[in-house]
């Protein structure tokens, strides 16, 4: 699912200025070094803890991120700094989400959402709602996911973020598609495309085009789906976005599968999987393993299909998406029993 972030402008007399600048520049190792070098008194501040949490998150150290964010939250709360508390809750939620602790993530995001709403912070409201939508989607609660994505999309619209709107509509389209409501999915993906075009965001544009192709293939219109996903694949490569490319390859694999080209479908899913593994994106990896399992089943290669479904289940489990993992295990068991 798509998500978005923001950064803050450092002040000149800020002792954490160097660390903030490094975070803004995407240099997280340097940010951590800068944070390690500040005076002990500064290191005990909530602001330091929050910045450390953000840095840990970007370095993939999710448990440390969560611990630092919770420390920051308590510090801000003691100071009565509601804005800081909100940012820390959101970051703690993000850490929990990455660790697959969906219940904790949900609580953190919900508290952050309530604070953002109280402060009238439209951008954070939008981000928290989007994150809560992702949690609900992973938990298989589609109505709730759709509700949060709608709140996210409306809030992004209010703060003038076309990119945020595009992500909100894209996520909506994905949920509708998974729920089998293809017309709504197609409509939402179309809105995502229009918003991504306005935002000039190639990644979301490619993913939204791929989402429309997924709807077309589910409707049985293979020719249209192929043309749509070809465009998505081209854009994803132009903007050099591996996640969008992996997504487009997964859907192209689906197209070839429905078209009866099983060998080609498997090859495309495998290509996508390699990319997903390279960028260490477990959700994309899980979805591609699922696709691989489905196409191998169609080819009658049950043992390899079972392995793919098991791998998909493991990847979903890592994200805390229990119902998704369960359904993959069920498929593997079903195949095992049949052979």
């Amino acid at each position: 699912m798509s998500s978005s972030n923001r950064t803050e402008t450092p002040m000149r007399d800020d002792p954490l200025r160097e660390a903030r600048l490094a975070v803004q520049a995407g240099q997280f190792r340097e940010a951590w070094n800068a944070l390690s070098e500040v005076a002990g008194s500064v290191r005990r501040t909530a602001e330091w803890s929050l910045l450390a949490a953000v840095t840990h998150f970007r370095l993939g150290e999710f448990a440390r991120c969560r611990a630092a964010a919770l420390q920051a939250r308590d510090g801000f709360r003691a100071q009565g700094d509601v804005d800081g508390e909100m940012r820390a809750e959101n970051t703690a939620g993000a850490g929990a989400f990455a660790l697959g602790y969906l219940a904790d993530a949900q609580q953190g995001f919900q508290r952050a959402l309530a604070l953002a709403h109280h402060l009238g912070d439209g951008f954070t409201t939008a981000r928290c709602a989007n994150n809560l939508g992702n949690v609900s989607y992973y938990l298989g609660d589609y109505p709730k996911a759709l509700s949060f994505y709608r709140l996210a999309t409306t809030s992004f619209e209010m703060v003038g973020s076309w990119k945020g709107r595009a992500e909100g509509w894209l996520n909506t389209a994905i949920v509708w598609n998974e729920d089998g409501n293809l017309e709504e999915s197609d409509d939402a993906a179309d809105r995502a495309i229009a918003a991504a075009e306005r935002a000039g965001d190639g990644r979301v544009l490619a993913q939204a085009l791929a989402a429309r192709a997924e709807t077309s293939v589910a409707l049985g219109d293979v020719d249209l789906a192929r043309a749509q996903v070809a465009r998505a694949l081209k854009i994803s490569r132009e903007v050099e976005d591996p996640l969008a490319e992996a997504d487009a390859l997964r859907i192209l694999s689906k197209v070839e599968h429905v078209n009866g080209e099983f060998g080609r479908a498997e090859e495309l899913a495998r290509q996508g999987l390699l990319i997903a593994q390279e960028i260490e994106h477990p959700w994309a990896e899980a979805e591609l393993q699922r696709e691989l399992g489905t196409v191998r089943t169609a080819r009658g290669r049950r043992t390899e299909a079972i392995a793919a479904f098991e791998a998909a289940a493991t990847a979903f489990e890592r994200l805390g998406a229990a119902s998704w993992a369960e359904s993959m295990r069920a498929k593997a068991t079903e195949l095992g029993n049949a052979s």
């Binding site: 709730k144 089998g180 293939v217 049985g220």
Partner: protein
């Protein structure tokens, strides 16, 4: 009223007290900036480079002062030399004022800027021009033009409830959004929701929000649609699907402008314009007891009916051309011209899915025809087997489980795999439907 500001960069102390007096007279905020600082915050009417005694330095700084192109920079100094004024303007200043002699001239100039700023704000607050708001609703047919004329009259009244009627795909949400954009509420949120797509058991919490602990799953409080739309417009599509017990609550919210979250003890004020839409006949629904008559009359203050595409004559060609041009750009293809065959095909088809169906047909034909052309044969797809696969027969003799499973499967197929809609049709929960479908797989 929107706040305006006057930015001053002080290179010297001369005339310092004049800036505050000027700001007060003009009813604008005074913002003192350093030479490196760009104006921010409220709309800036002008930047004054206050250079009394430092005129040469002001000339050197001119090129480095950052400000939006639309904000003029004036140098204010003590030199009365005409040559200096010419040089200042030559280097990029909008004008030069020598104080105290030019004080009235400066006052008039700034006053005009402030007035223009206020007019811009007022214009933005009252919404954009009607033409712009309704520009997405393309068409020149009398049927559409008549409806748009009525819509334009309604749009300016930000509190009037509007009921939009029309077949599926006619653009009901587009019209609702245009009404919002052209209304004094344009700066507020536009929240659109399809009542048919929300499970009945969640509808109340969706519309009115809930407090923490209101029900098992309510771990935190959440605002509902009314609160989301506060200050703006709430568009309730397929309002006919609203459960009867909630219709009363909606009516109260409309009449009292107050809502109460599920589980809350206090009501909250809400300022929301409601636009509803439906493709069903609400009069009949009211007669059948499926829709509250009093709510119908409350929603039906103004009714706008979008004509179906088949009644819009040549609009079908106009729309097809517009879609072809836009989509060709999206897919980086040459824009096709509509051939005689295409035009004939466009008029021959009844377009039951209306504008949405037309748009899909054009997209499909554009992508599958030779670049730069549209082949009407590609307007509709030759569909392959769909995912998920369709229904299967019931064995005989069948167990009750098998019969229920077959009903679940049939409903799912009828609703294109939409589990929520299938569950609604069968009068069971999604979870129950899922269990029945598992029986199928067993």
């Amino acid at each position: 009223m929107t706040t305006l500001s006057l930015a001053v960069i002080e290179l010297s102390d001369s005339f310092r007290s004049a800036w505050q007096d000027l700001a007060q007279e003009l009813d604008v905020q005074l913002a003192t900036l350093s030479p490196q600082q760009a104006p921010s915050g409220p709309e800036t009417i002008a930047v004054l480079l206050a250079a009394g005694g430092e005129e040469d330095r002001a000339l050197d700084l001119l090129a480095t002062v950052s400000r939006p192109d639309s904000v003029p920079l004036y140098i204010v100094g003590a030199q009365t030399s005409h040559r200096f004024a010419v040089e200042a303007v030559r280097r990029g200043a909008a004008d030069y004022f020598a104080l105290p002699g030019d004080l009235n001239l400066l006052r008039r100039t700034l006053s005009a800027r402030a007035e223009a700023g206020r007019q811009r704000s007022a214009s933005a607050a009252s919404g954009p021009a009607l033409d712009e708001a309704f520009s997405e609703l393309l068409g020149e047919s009398p049927a559409l033009a008549q409806m748009l004329e009525q819509a334009a009259r309604v749009a300016r009244h930000g509190a009037v409830t509007v009921l939009v009627q029309g077949e599926t795909g006619t653009g009901k949400e587009l019209l609702a959004r245009a009404l919002h954009t052209a209304s004094p509420r344009a700066a507020g949120p536009f929240v659109a929701v399809n009542c048919a797509a929300i499970p009945g058991e969640l509808m109340e919490s969706e519309l009115f929000g809930h407090e923490r602990g209101a029900f098992t799953d309510a771990h935190a409080s959440k605002p509902g649609l009314f609160e989301e739309a506060h200050g703006g417009t709430l568009f309730l599509d397929e309002v006919g699907h609203l459960p009867l017990r909630l219709q009363g609550k909606l009516l109260r919210a409309l009449e009292e402008h107050r809502i109460r979250r599920v589980g809350a003890t206090q009501s909250r004020d809400v300022d929301v314009r409601i636009i509803t839409a439906t493709h069903v006949n609400l009069v009949e629904a009211a007669q059948d007891g499926a829709f509250r008559e009093d709510l119908f009359y409350r929603l039906n203050v103004i009714t706008l009916t979008l004509p179906p595409l088949r009644d819009r004559g040549a609009d079908v060609e106009l729309l097809a051309e517009a879609f072809a041009a836009k989509l060709a750009e999206r897919y980086e293809l040459p824009t096709p011209k509509l051939s005689r065959d295409v035009r004939t095909a466009l008029h021959a088809h009844p377009w039951p899915g209306n504008v949405r169906e037309l748009r899909h047909a054009i997209e499909r034909a554009l992508l599958l025809s030779e670049p730069g052309s549209l082949d009407p044969a590609h307007f509709t797809p030759q569909r392959r087997a769909r995912q998920p696969s369709g229904t299967a027969s019931i064995p005989f003799p069948a167990t009750l489980d098998q019969v229920m499973a077959a009903a679940a499967r049939a409903a799912l197929a009828q609703h294109d795999g939409n589990k929520s809609a299938a569950a609604r049709q069968l009068g069971i929960s999604r979870a129950r439907l899922a269990r029945l479908l598992e029986l199928v797989e067993d």
